[in-house]
Symmetry: C2
Subunit: 352 residues, 2 copies
Amino acid sequence: MNATPCLVIDPAVLQRTIDAMAALVGGQGLDLRPHVKTHKCLEIARLQRDAGARGITVATLGEAEVFAAAGFDDITVAYPVWVDEKSGARLRCLREQASVRVGVDSVDGARQIARHCPAAQVLVEIDSGHHRTGAGPAEAGAVAAAANQAGLEVAGVFTFPGHSYSPEARAQVAAAEQDALSAAVGSLSAQGIASPVVSGGSSPSAQFVRSGVLTELRPGAYVFNDAQQWELGACTAGDIALTVHATVVSHAGGRLVLDAGSKALAADRPAWASGSGRLLDHPDARIVMLSEHHAVCELDGPLPSLGSTVRVVPNHCCNAVALADEFVVGNWDGERLDEVDRWQVDARNRNH
Amino acid sequence: MNATPCLVIDPAVLQRTIDAMAALVGGQGLDLRPHVKTHKCLEIARLQRDAGARGITVATLGEAEVFAAAGFDDITVAYPVWVDEKSGARLRCLREQASVRVGVDSVDGARQIARHCPAAQVLVEIDSGHHRTGAGPAEAGAVAAAANQAGLEVAGVFTFPGHSYSPEARAQVAAAEQDALSAAVGSLSAQGIASPVVSGGSSPSAQFVRSGVLTELRPGAYVFNDAQQWELGACTAGDIALTVHATVVSHAGGRLVLDAGSKALAADRPAWASGSGRLLDHPDARIVMLSEHHAVCELDGPLPSLGSTVRVVPNHCCNAVALADEFVVGNWDGERLDEVDRWQVDARNRNH
């Protein structure tokens, strides 16, 4: 047995999630540009590419560097990078290795990119209702015009409809995303600027996106799924490709205590989540208390025995991966893991 | 400037928190055994030892291995480790390098340790009200007796009063901790077993512990402090030794958006916390929305300018450190960081 906690990928489920999203997005005539911040893993990005992904999405220049060095040649940095002298030099190097575009959501941000990386390709970020970063759809044209004027190449617009992470919101958010992107395309067009790329998408909203306005989707978490996707109805338990294997260390207070805490699962717990994570083989179980090296679970029925291995579904797969160095790839028969491979978290800690 | 986000230690504040806790605990005639899971850093553990710490506390065998290899020879694994064949072999190796004791909270757990690491030294874990792991105080004697009978050496009892992480609870929890440990000592004594070590302590409750029952304290977070300690009143802003330096990337929606998200700060947000983190130089600011690479902050007054550096206080320092490879040690003058050293997170990812 592996020492626990450890991240385990079920390879058959992984391939199925990759193929299903490729079919869904391709079926709408859209390009798929998966967000690799979820897995940070070259091996998995290659599987996504083999299944037809057009390119990849990353969150940081550091992630872009890892994937560009491995031959990924079409990369969107879906983030309003503040480009200074050092990051400008990195972006210039990246552009020698791959077709790279970065996000921008302000006139100042556009000028900053142009100062340190002349003629860079940019996508204007739009706020479609998540209210994080992004220009309002009506202001998108002004940002694009400033970018154009500063000598940048405007490739289009993008948004992250993160408010799809809320119960019953998915269909409605996909509609709002489409409306916002449509308005933004109009705002650029009024400045005489075309939008060959109109990019959106999140894993929860992906199945509600229709062709028409968008040209591509950038979901990330779908590749593994997690307790959030499960509770939002964006996947079933059978679609969960990543679990954290944990050992039962205590039955204190008649509850199940596992050795996987927030240093393995991450501490994400949105207000609507039913707990701090779930157990794949005990759908009624909930992690009711999470500390750094303990998950306290409540469940009906007899507790799994002390020393046994339990498969934990983290609330947020992306943040669980960010804590790990590697994935164990293997098949679980209910008692033992048949390990078939190990994959590195290649872009581990590439936060900048 | 360093690329952001990055973890920065203020060395003068660090030395002050180390000295203050040593004076507080020593002043009560107690031993200080700091929990190094907070920093995972040999350099900082050496500073704690130089200030008089009796030994160290760790959460996992993997952490114990890193510190034992560096010469730390008195180590408590404050966790009910489920010892199997592999971890038993590791524990036996550790015991050749250092005086090591592990936690146990059940009869089965004790027998398991004895099976794979005969004559190991153990501490019986007590639940003093946090309701995570630990035997009830009245059941402690039965666990100790089983350990004794299995050939283990019972060194005493310990508890983690984690319910001190709640507003206005600190003094009361310190009293409950003392009562529970006292009852546990009585329970062992009724079995004819002495408790030379009576160990407790958390950073929030440390200042309320009095001599009498306890012989040692094991606080961890005090060394850096964080937004939780700040909001609980366990420290002031001036006692915060660790911040995450972040860059302002957007003013979208009139709010401050920073490039430090949950992959740098960790996602901890207890129900009583006022936000997902704070800004050291803007005490009124709150992180109202946190995603993987974004912190959205609300604050009064003019927003720090785009591209400027801001010092973020994570909610939970231990989990922020678990995401990093290194600390930048340096002095911040309000605009620039004067870097004096870099320290590694030596026990990074030693979760098992």
